[in-house]
């Protein structure tokens, strides 16, 4: 077959030709994969072939080795590993050969493919000579080959984890890379490739950064590269510096003064893409110090792995003026442009992080700038001053801020209505939002909002919601935080008198023709949700009226017929917002018996609307509608049974949604809600639900985060249907047992893995509890006896592991109690034989966590009874 022609046809503008070629390639691949891959690599390597066919050949090769989706990726890796050795070594040879090509596209494509092969083979100890062959002769080759070699090394470092490459090879790679970055390197492409390679190789340089001489050398070369005449090299070297700042924070002290000097020069004088990276360096140092100080938690005796060097605090006198200068470099339309990112935005963001890092100290440094510029003629000066003011609101103590805010509040309210610049109004509304977010609420000692200014604030915010979409959106945000500050007030809220106006105004916003811009519609609904959440019984009647409004809106979305894909997208989004709002309302009204009773008259209608929303899509279910169902099931209780015949198919659809695992996860939670609402009336649906849940658990496509809730859901089902769970025992118990074995040990796992393991344990334990409790008082209790030893063994092993969190500890001791309570004397002897039950119980009994203690007390009673019978 003439591969070249097919590859060229596959890029034809004529769609018939293109589709035919794609089909041919697909057939070729299916018929003979080894020959297909060989042909592609030969094509890529051949200097006689056109660049377009070479490039596509490389791209197809790359896609044959890797995929985004985990399951697919695993398949591809297994496929490659199982290829004939001779084929693979021939392909590798073609790839390495391509690195010497005079065509830069071919070289670059080959670099990426080599890295993908390395990503599969190096962890398997295959292709051990790869790094060696790249490094050999590198000093004798022409510059373009050296550049390709450096690029390949960079990609390899991006692809594999540091433990896969031996330290002596790492040393050689770093030597080559840093030499390539050196000012002595005459070839710009080589120097750029080296700089970019260093960025990826930094993670491998742990040992080298611990060696003073080597670290000094690397830092000197990186800092020198930031002064290169070539802008791309300056930018790439600043990227290295940013990465060094977060990876090797604790090694920075000797260099920080120099770094400050070069970054401040770059911020003031260099081109924007370089200046942005220079600012990012300081933002990432802030990130590090915020994390470290948070870990200190004010308790300076606590051990922290990394000490805080207070770089930001030391740099403050020079850093603050630098950042304030950037605030004045706004672009005219940055507030309307979702993708905008410029010096003023980066500098402003960095300023906010600096404030969070140092707290009170920054206030006197920023105040003069604010005072000087807040009333200036030039909108840039007013906006910058307002932004600076908004920035200092998170971090410093309320004592420091409250007096300033009390003075400024009125000014801000006036600016929001009167300032001629939309830009200034946008930032003013944002600043008001931050005032309410950080300085308003029941925890704040000296309230800045008083009966005398509350009305004015509300009036101004509602007025602003008629302003340009970006301003209105910020005003919604400000109202959100204003409302949130009045949460948990009990039966009366200062916002009650304005409740109706606020709701009406927000509904009007959702109807604005331009509500799609600047996320305005979403913001208005989110604020409405918060208004409902924080409402009191005084306004329950008005919330009830809102139900009807939202129902009408939802009804309208269902009427639209024959939608284009664009319109369908919009319908879907609007339905999501409305369902979200309904969910919040249902929860609110469901809390008290009186409002729930009044609300229940709408339950049938709401249910039919939600079913309508589900029916709008053929293959997937709407996550927001599913969440509303959960709230409705909880409010309706056993009466939810009447909706099950119509709803069931969507429940099943949700449980089958592997791709959108959030939807699957939400649906699993809803099954729990329905179990508690229906109790044994859920029985007719359990065969289907259990089948689906068991399929989910056996799937390696499903995101792992869904698995713990599925186990908990087993418990919910068992508790609801009691001994009827009998028929599922033979399927569910082995799943529980194998998951238990997997989650028993965490040794060597990272924090994220330990957290996941504890979630999984909690799910498994909740399943055991639900099942044991479900069978209590049943004549079929005997059926559980064979499973008891394994449950106890699981408790033993997680106790021995000593890494349970408090939640798991409580669930675990409860399982012990449930087991004893349900199995009685049958459990007694098993518990007495258990290695650690007694120690575990005693440890829980003396726990400082009263919830654990309480559960342990109950477990002790159950056990002593089981043993005494």
């Amino acid at each position: 077959m003439e591969v070249t022609q097919v590859l060229l046809s596959a890029q034809s503008v004529d769609s018939t030709v293109r589709k035919h070629a794609e089909e041919t390639l697909k057939q070729f691949q299916e018929q003979n994969l080894p020959v297909f891959l060989l042909s592609l690599s030969a094509e890529l390597a051949s200097e006689e072939k056109p660049v377009d066919s070479r490039r596509l050949a490389g791209l197809i090769l790359k896609n044959a080795l890797d995929a985004k989706e985990q399951h697919r990726k695993y398949e591809l890796v297994q496929r490659w590993l199982s290829l004939d050795v001779a084929v693979k070594s021939q392909i590798r040879a073609y790839l390495l050969q391509t690195l010497s090509s005079t065509v830069s596209d071919a070289r670059s494509t080959a670099s990426q493919v080599i890295a993908k092969v390395a990503g599969i083979e190096l962890p398997q100890k295959q292709w051990p000579e790869l790094i060696g062959s790249l490094l050999s002769n590198v000093h004798q080759v022409p510059p373009h080959v050296k550049q390709a070699t450096l690029e390949t090394l960079g990609y390899i470092c991006e692809e594999v984890s540091p433990d896969v490459i031996e330290q002596d090879q790492v040393n050689k790679i770093l030597t080559l890379v840093v030499q390539g970055m050196n000012a002595n390197e005459a070839n710009i492409d080589v120097r750029l490739a080296a700089t970019r390679a260093l960025y990826n190789a930094l993670g491998f340089a742990q040992a080298n950064f611990s060696n003073d001489m080597e670290r000094d050398y690397i830092m000197r070369v990186v800092c020198e590269a930031t002064l290169s005449p070539e802008v791309k090299i300056r930018q790439a070297s600043y990227e290295c510096l940013v990465s060094i700042g977060s990876t090797y924070y604790e090694k920075l002290a000797p260099y920080i003064q120099d770094i400050f000097n070069i970054t401040s020069k770059a911020v003031r004088e260099d081109e924007e893409q370089v200046a942005l990276q220079a600012i990012e360096f300081w933002s990432s140092i802030c990130d590090e110090e915020i994390d470290i100080l948070e870990e200190y938690g004010g308790d300076f005796t606590a051990d922290s792995d990394v000490p805080c060097y207070y770089f930001i605090k030391q740099a403050l006198p020079a850093l603050v003026p630098l950042l304030l200068e950037t605030l004045l470099k706004q672009e005219e339309d940055q507030d309307q442009d979702e993708g905008a990112w410029n010096l003023a935005m980066a500098g402003g963001t960095c300023l906010g992080l600096v404030v969070r890092t140092v707290g009170d100290d920054i206030v006197p440094l920023v105040m003069p700038f604010i005072e000087e510029n807040l009333s200036k003629e030039d909108w840039r000066r007013r906006e910058a001053a307002t932004y600076a003011f908004g920035s200092i609101l998170e971090g410093p103590s309320p004592d420091k801020l409250t007096p300033i805010v009390n003075v400024a509040l009125n000014f801000m309210l006036t600016a929001l209505t009167k300032d001629p610049s939309s830009h200034v109004k946008d930032t003013t509304a944002w600043t008001l939002g931050r005032i309410f977010e950080f300085l308003h609420g029941s925890a704040v000692e000296n309230p800045i909002i008083t009966p005398s200014n509350c009305q004015q604030i509300v009036t101004v915010l509602l007025e602003s919601m008629k302003d340009a979409p970006n301003v209105a959106e910020k005003a919604c945000g400000a109202l959100y935080f204003l409302t949130q500050g009045y949460e948990d007030l009990g039966s009366t809220s200062p916002l009650t008198p304005y409740f109706q106006d606020i709701v009406q105004c927000l509904l009007n916003v959702t109807h604005r023709e331009d509500a799609a811009e600047s996320r305005l519609r979403s913001s208005a609904y989110e604020t409405l949700n918060e208004v409902v959440r924080c409402s009191t019984e005084e306004t329950a009647r008005l919330v009830l009226e809102l139900v009807q409004v939202i129902m009408q809106e939802l009804h309208k979305t269902l009427e639209a017929q024959k939608l284009s894909s664009d319109e369908r997208e919009k319908q879907n989004e609007l339905q999501g917002l409305l369902c979200g709002c309904l969910q919040v309302i249902i929860q609110k009204l469901g809390v008290s018996e009186a409002t729930k009773f009044a609300f229940m008259q709408y339950a049938d209608q709401i249910m039919s609307l939600l079913l309508g929303v589900f029916a709008c899509r053929s293959a997937t279910v709407h996550e927001e509608a599913m969440l509303s169902i959960g709230a409705l099931a909880y409010a309706t209780g056993p009466n939810f049974a009447k909706y099950m015949p119509d709803f069931y198919k969507y429940l099943e659809m949700g449980l089958q949604n592997f791709e959108e695992y959030q939807v699957c996860s939400v649906t699993v939670g809803i099954v729990g809600d329905i179990c508690r609402a229906l109790e044994d009336k859920i029985l007719p649906y359990c065969d289907g639900i259990m089948t689906q849940l068991l399929k989910d658990l056996s799937s390696n496509q499903l995101h792992r985060s869904v698995k713990p809730p599925i186990f908990s859901c087993f418990g919910d089902i068992a508790l609801a249907i009691g001994e009827n769970f009998e028929k599922y025992l033979m399927y569910a118990m082995p799943m529980l047992q194998s998951a238990a074995e997997l989650s028993a040990h965490t040794s060597g796992a990272d924090d994220e893995m330990i957290e996941y393991t504890n979630l999984l344990r909690n799910g498994i334990l909740e399943a055991y509890s639900g099942i044991f409790q479900g069978f209590k008082n049943s004549p079929k209790t005997q059926l559980l006896i064979p499973y008891a030893p394994h449950a106890l063994q699981f408790l033993d092993s997680i106790y021995m592991e000593k890494d349970m969190d408090d939640i798991v500890m409580k669930t675990a001791i409860e399982v012990l109690g449930d087991l004893a309570d349900t199995l009685g004397s049958n459990a007694g002897s098993l518990i007495q034989q258990s290695m650690s039950c007694k120690d575990f119980l005693n440890e829980c009994l003396s726990s400082e966590d009263h919830l654990i203690k309480e559960s342990a007390e109950w477990a002790r009673l159950a056990i002593s009874r089981a043993i005494s019978v």
């Binding site: 927001e624 969440l627 729990g672 919910d716 008082n777």
Partner: protein, 414 residues
Amino acid sequence: MAPHDLRRPFKRAAISDQQRRRELTLQRQSQHRRDAQHQARCLANSILSLQNDAVADIEPEFEIEPQPEEEHARDFDVRQAARLRGPEARLWFAKQLMLPEWMIDVPDRLSVDWYVCARPAGKRCFVVSSNGTTVSRLRNGSQLHRFPSALPNGAKTNNSSRSGQSYCILDCIFHEPDQTYYVIDMVCWAGMSLYECTAEFRFFWLNSKLAETGACNDPSPYHRYSFKTVVVYNCDQEGLRAAYTGPVPYLKDGLLFSNKHAHYQSGNTPLVLVWKDENCSQYVLDTDSKGQVPDQQQVVLELLDDGRLATSDDPTVIFGCLDRDFIQKTGLVGSNLLRFAINEGGLCFADGKLERADLHYLGKTNRARTFADSYSKIMFQYTARYSPLRIEHLFASINSTNVQENSTDADMAG
């Protein structure tokens, strides 16, 4: 290798509302899961704690003559006391009974949705049978009797075929004169929970199951006290008249009204109501410890941490506030139960809500009291002294319901 994107969120809230809704939903779900499991455990826990009492063997306590706590403490060693969790266990039990509110106005649809019965005078208690013994506990959680009974698992007999898990919980009134437990509600029967069943079902079950076991038989060595059911009527003209005037084998203490659709719910509930007058009760007005009706109505209120005085309702009703000096001088602390007399000023209302109460402090209540008075009790006692709700009002309300229903019929016929 392209430059790396370094955009950060700008002027944005850190968390999306949708994410917040998801998290709140998850919190709610796990809370409900915990509640469901906790409830299942507690039901058994209360039974289990009986065993510890068997070791400790508490003397019965009566509301009128409380035994000081310390006397008990001397009787057991520290280990037993710790296991007993005395006041805690009592408080827990005390919270399990469904407590009627006092009828201060007549509910709608009385004749349609409600039952009525003549309430026996005596000690309200929970009777629990399990593990071959039967224990009764008073409203304040303390033990009244421990005895064998014919209830399921209520005595150690040879034919104990029932599983060890089987137990019963009955809501009873112990009537001293004939030493009989009058069963007014059934909470659990033979291990089956009736908490989530309507009163209609519970009463049906009570009437069909109780006699089967022989629990209504006369006392015998394995059945120390007899149990009897109370006749429950539909609350129509005839039913109300029968309950109010009909002969019963016990001393009447008012009428008890139960909503047919209500589940068994712990604590104060407006779905069970008690009403009384001089014709059907000897104790219309509260008496003091000497059995005398005091000149002024007395009420028991709980002192909150901030000095306010609250009823036992949820949410509480506030009757007033003590000032700080007074609290310090008298050494009172939050959660103390205090006794007050209502002075000449009485209770003042505005828009149906209590506005002001003229209270006179009498002192702390005795220790056996676990609750303050409920709002409805205070109100019933208050109106009983000045303008009581009379039986005529109840009959009139039933009549008016009938009239309305009849008129609907008439309209349809016409």
